[in-house]
Symmetry: C2
Subunit: 198 residues, 2 copies
């Protein structure tokens, strides 16, 4: 990945002095975004736009980051869908111009709302569903296995409680309200303390 490395070639040596700093910052955000489950180029492109005083064209972005126009189009499209970048236009110009949404908080919130919250919700539903299946199976099982099923029930209800609490906490985050992680800690293992071996 010649992202930062390939900066002093191409268009002669007319690279501005600050380009290096810009690319380093973009790469840092790219790593962050990639880690967070987005395309790495989304972070890089957003950062270039965020640092730029004016909106930029796809061509300028492709040139700056040494990407193909299709790569730019793809990531840019996704950024627009997430509301992280906006299209704008200029009187004379035919090209599309893109500008970064500058409120990082707004972006964070949107992602937690649209993505993380759904994810947790789905997990919570699945756990609840597994609990239901277990209840249903319980009477049809040998007394010997009933012990086992009962253990699973307790554990599953713990997982349910955890995910539901997680859901609530992320909800609070999205709402910008205070979050108390203690709520999660309290669910943990108040009674069964079987694991004290090692």
């Amino acid at each position: 990945m010649p992202s930062v490395a390939a900066k002093q070639e191409e268009s002669s040596n007319s690279e501005p002095l600050w380009r290096e700093a810009e690319l380093h910052a973009a790469d840092a955000m790219g790593r962050l975004m990639e880690f967070w489950g987005f395309r790495r180029h989304m972070g890089r492109i957003w950062t270039i736009l965020y640092l730029s005083p004016e909106a930029m064209t796809t061509a300028a972005l492709a040139e700056t980051l040494q990407l193909s126009s299709s790569a730019v189009s793809l990531s840019l499209g996704e950024l627009v869908r997430w509301g992280a970048v906006r299209k704008t236009w200029r009187p004379g110009e035919r090209k599309d111009f893109y500008a970064a949404e500058t409120s990082v908080w707004k972006l964070l919130r949107r992602v937690y709302e649209r993505r993380e919250l759904n994810l947790i919700r789905e997990a919570a539903e699945t756990f609840a569903d597994a609990q239901r299946r277990l209840e249903e199976a319980r009477p049809r099982v040998t007394p010997n296995e009933r012990r086992r099923v009962d253990h699973m029930r307790k554990r599953l209800s713990r997982l349910s409680a955890l995910t539901k609490t997680g859901e609530r906490l992320v909800g609070l985050l999205v709402a910008g309200r205070m979050i108390d992680p203690g709520a999660l800690r309290e669910i943990d293992d108040p009674q069964f303390d079987e694991g004290r071996d090692s």
Copy 2:
């Protein structure tokens, strides 16, 4: 991925009734973990252990989840490194037995501490470094470009502030203290208020 689907074959039809529920729950956790940047099997294996009343062998895990022993070994090793699973042994037996760490809060905390915190820290350092490079370049740039550099400086310092605040908030989370997301919101765009759409 025949994870849940492939449950009623293999070892005759002796699958217990609750196996289905167990596998569903394991898959839910697998999705969560995969989304969170871990191997998907880590979540699945951990869940099987978490739901099990006794510690299990690698063979039992491989059988339950229909995985090769090497896949189990790999994910299990990583789970042990993260402290999510502990090895235990039994008097007569030669095999290793594995038991889940049951405190989810403890696990969450450890991951945020070891992984997310470092990630943010590195990003923060890179932003700070980019700022430094910019300061250094500033005097060597045409007055025309100085405007540009100054804009970048403002934006970069915003990114720095955001990551540093993020670092602080994650630190609070790890410490189990209250978190105020408002700290992030306040950094956003106090002056330029160009984006007040949705």
